[in-house]
Symmetry: C2
Subunit: 402 residues, 2 copies
């Protein structure tokens, strides 16, 4: 890391701070993670109105509601990407996922929905890495099972709406053994990073296995276009990474390495977490079925889960609610609407109506159910079309539109 | 490592001990490394007369003079390999080299000459790994240059007399990106070994780059036949590794990992070092041209180097030499004869004659020159035939005779 980045990243975390690293996220407050504090701790920049205005000016398009509502809340060097685009220069998008055996949930969709939108706005290629090797290293999972998880998750991701013409998807367990340039860039990264540094950035210790210690080089490599010569023909093309904020440590490291390798630093757009049904202290997690709305849930399951588990900001009785109103800062149904209800005016009405006590918790839950259910149903219709053959087209090592 | 192996490997090294690890070798005595002491420290077994007898009985062939003269002096589980062979079961040979930019020298030939002989005796396939990625990590060398070094060294190795029908050669920088099964076995190894362990075995520290920390998994992977499915078709085939003793730490680690992966532990045959011209405290080193006889040296260069630099066990004057005789324990020309003069009787005569003072230093040097020069000339004639095309045949990912 640069000295500045190092200082910033090392600002000591106190007991009162939210915990956010690539493996654990835990907020301290019912209102969720304090993202402004996280920006300070990570040393990134807030996505403010000026940046959003600049985005709209450069692209001629209205900013996505994820940007307008602070769901993507932080960035590194996004100005540089906008300048590139304004100058008619190319960049590419890179994002990824650590595959899991469970179905993906709606929280997992957020970075991919946004990435798809970015791709449509900027007309740029997209690289999606599935870190099945990471799962082998961190979990008690066999290589064959991890690969299968990657393929299943790839289908779930493809159903967001990606296009084979400009999207390349790979899983590490197969791809690293198919692309010498990728392995060689892993080595370039591994040569720039000491154990001390990964200890500081990721909290690795002496009793960690060496596969964990070296893994950050594998998540770094796709941020360099020379890792994918069949796409970029050994040209140096800058990279923009939309991802959840918990992945930032990997890319802080990658940006430092980029400087040392005299390659462009990847730019970043950071997403906040979709809260768990039970409350905003936790992100939605696939390992707790009652905390999550899965992409393969039926309308009935969605309805039941929201009605039963979605933490309410309403009052104990109807009378009290009518009098004091609901609290949208902690209400999970309302939070989900901020993610999934695109209509700004309608959202403002709902907020006003709930906070005034006019709208009851049951009614707010119904609005959330009626918003999320058709989104999931549309998604499921697309998902049904993603056959093995379609998936293989995305994984084929080939030239894509750049 | 097993507990026993760990205890043995950790026997503390005192200031008086020879230093031997994969990166440095330095003896304390003019007679060279104390190999018996090294056997105790490393926890390996001495190659004794019983083992040599058993070898000759099982194979029906006379043991190589490298075995008879203790040049290959130590082993792990070689009995197991002989039992396999006796039972008509298959194994394979694996050896390798960290490529260098300089020409290879005659010391580098020793493990390869012996490996070729083993291959002829046992009729088994051979895998040769060129760790060009290791050189990138340890030296200030670019990836392109390291690859080129590997290709040049491969030609030097091929000229020992290997056959494309049963020998596969690869360089890591290309091959790891061409064989997912190899990368997957690297991961299996990486999952079994902690930073603490590589710290203990290799002396890595917190300020070492993560590429060094993970490298041992790359030298371990070829010891598992499942890393090379195009040769072994995913069958589990045991492995015998002939190598210089300084590589043993890698394979102590590999043997421990093998046990945890429920794979056969590789067996080992350990070579001693060909001494430098200046004396047996140091092994021959390519980085000091005056200490080494290179494979591309002319007869004149060989003659001049031995006459000028080969450390002599003779006395200061002819008169004193006639009276006291020469010391074959420290005389480098004599040591080279033990490596390269196959005729046991002739060697015994020379020893006797030199120690009695009858044979003078100049005469002994001439014998060494006359023994080594034709070996190098024959080698050079074979080397001239190793074209790029020949080399590529060895590197082709293909089925070989097993």
């Amino acid at each position: 890391m640069t000295e500045l980045e190092e200082q910033v990243a090392n600002i000591s975390v106190t007991e009162d701070d939210d915990f956010v690293d690539p493996w654990n996220v835990a907020g301290k407050s019912q209102t969720g993670i304090d993202y402004d504090k996280l920006i300070k701790r990570f040393g990134s920049q807030k996505i403010d109105d000026d940046l959003i205005d600049r985005f709209e000016k450069v692209t001629g398009q209205r900013a996505h509601h994820f940007l307008r509502r602070g769901i993507f809340f932080s960035h590194r060097d996004f100005h540089t990407v906008l300048n590139l685009h304004e100058a008619g220069k190319k960049f590419y998008l890179y994002t990824g996922r650590g595959p899991s055996s469970e179905s993906m949930h709606i929280g997992h969709l957020i970075p991919f929905i946004f990435t798809k939108w970015l791709q449509d706005v900027f007309k740029v290629p997209l690289i999606i890495q599935l870190t099945d090797d990471e799962k082998v290293m961190w979990k008690d999972i066999k290589i064959e099972d991890a690969r299968q998880m990657a393929f299943n998750n790839a289908k779930d991701i493809i159903a967001v709406g990606f296009d084979t013409s400009n999207t390349f998807i790979f899983n590490d367990l197969d791809f690293i053994g198919q692309c010498p340039a990728f392995y060689q860039n892993m080595l370039r990264v591994q040569k720039c990073v000491t154990f001390n540094q990964v200890k500081g950035i990721f909290g690795f210790g002496d009793s960690d296995v060496i596969g964990k210690i070296t893994f950050p080089s594998i998540e770094a490599a796709p941020a360099f276009s020379t890792s994918l010569p069949f796409i970029f023909e050994n040209k140096v093309v800058p990279c923009l990474i939309p991802c959840a904020i918990d992945q930032d440590p990997y890319f802080r490291m990658t940006r430092d390495v980029a400087a040392r390798l005299k390659m462009p630093k990847p730019a970043l757009l950071h997403a906040s977490f979709l809260p768990a049904l039970q409350g905003a202290q936790h992100k939605m997690s696939a390992s707790d079925p009652n905390a999550s709305i899965f992409l393969n849930d039926t309308p009935k399951q969605i309805k039941n889960k929201i009605n039963k588990y979605a933490f309410s900001g309403g009052q104990a009785t109807v009378e009290e609610h009518r009098e004091k109103g609901g609290n949208t800062d902690v209400d999970i149904s309302y939070k989900y609407l901020t993610f999934f209800l695109e209509d700004d005016e309608r959202l403002a009405e709902i907020k006003k109506s709930y906070e005034s006590g006019e709208l009851l918790t049951g009614e707010l839950k119904k609005l959330a159910i009626d918003t999320i259910t058709p989104i999931i149903q549309d998604y499921q219709a697309r998902r049904a079309l993603v056959t093995d053959d379609v998936m293989k087209q995305f994984f084929a090592i080939r030239k894509i539109d750049v």
